[in-house]
Symmetry: C2
Subunit: 213 residues, 2 copies
């Protein structure tokens, strides 16, 4: 049944690092997941995203090295048990995945007057994220894994892919076939953080402060 299937995909989706097989993504599958991303809602119908499909091994290796350096930057700020926990957590599958999909935000798309963006400049950036989640869910339904890597400096990624300064890289997504998707998120399995109950984030008519977790 359609409804149950959708929820199954929504809840099965994982942020994938260690489960990529490296096998090729079929062209028709790749086309469908990119079309899914491109079908996302966007402020003023601006569709302000671009997708750079990165297969080149040298480019990916250079990015992976940068990510590892940024991993060390983050690690250096941790102490004791947190540092120990983090040392066991894999943060990227750049080389193991089949493809890098870099998603960017182009604020000039649909300019000058983007309907719905005059009061909230970031609304265009928000649209790009909606496209990313569409891609993620379609990939999950197709049996692929997706891992969002965010241990990088935007300028480094711009230089690596010739992305103009006015564009903003929003994500490097590692995409590809996986052995399996873990039932529990990696960070929860490693004891880094547990998921919150839904009721902790629900409010009625007005925001009510609660202890932040």
């Amino acid at each position: 049944m359609s409804l149950a299937d959708l929820y199954e995909v929504l809840h099965r989706r994982r942020d994938t690092r260690g489960e990529f097989t490296g096998a090729e993504i079929q062209d028709d599958v790749l086309r469908r997941i990119l079309a899914a991303a491109h079908a996302a809602p966007s402020v003023g119908l601006s569709q302000p995203w671009d997708f750079v499909l990165v297969k080149n091994q040298d480019t990916r290796r250079a990015f992976r090295d940068h990510v590892q350096a940024e991993r060390s930057v983050f690690a250096a700020g941790l102490e004791g048990e947190r540092a120990e926990l983090f040392s066991r957590i894999k943060v990227e599958g750049v080389m193991e995945s089949s493809l890098g999909v870099v998603v960017t935000y182009d604020p000039d798309r649909g300019s000058p007057a983007v309907l719905g963006r005059h009061a909230i400049a970031d609304a265009g950036l928000y649209s790009v994220c909606l496209a990313i989640q569409n891609l993620w869910l379609a990939a999950t339904a197709e049996g692929l894994g997706v891992g969002w890597v965010s241990f990088y400096r935007e300028d480094v990624l711009r230089r690596l892919l010739d992305i103009p300064a006015r564009l903003r890289p929003v994500a490097w997504l590692c995409v590809g076939p996986v052995r399996s998707l873990p039932e529990t998120p990696d960070l929860e399995r490693h004891g880094w953080r547990n998921r919150l109950p839904l009721d902790d984030v629900l409010h009625h008519d007005r925001y009510r402060a609660r202890p932040s977790r």
Copy 2:
């Protein structure tokens, strides 16, 4: 078949303004779409979102009035044909929809060291948008419409719902049963802007500049 159903929902989804019936959303349906949002991926498993469910009519009316004022601000910057086109476009269904769902971003969730956010401060904001798209797709599959209103000032919405200054409102979503979902996006139907072909936003290994549209 599951895969076809998912793509059907991804492509059928619309940004809804004029089709709300105002009928009640069933409690179990609302719970499922909020649980779908809450199942989104998030940087460092921070789940930095909150959902304020706004039923109160006075609150919604005050917000609607503010949105109308911001609509006029945007309209004042348009000229000629664009102004004429815009005058026919409905930008919100705040009172006609069944429920307002205000989604906020809490940067303190999971602090101090949010895994994956040290290099990209906005990564938490991105996570909130992924939750919004999950909600949108689940609502679409449940036969509801969703309309993202972005004609507002964040401070006005904060004051209206007692949202603390450190939190950022990301969206007011109009949610509820609809008569139907239009096949063509409103803005395209009114001649404001047409959707781009997918190939216009695809790049291989490096970003290649193209005429911005």
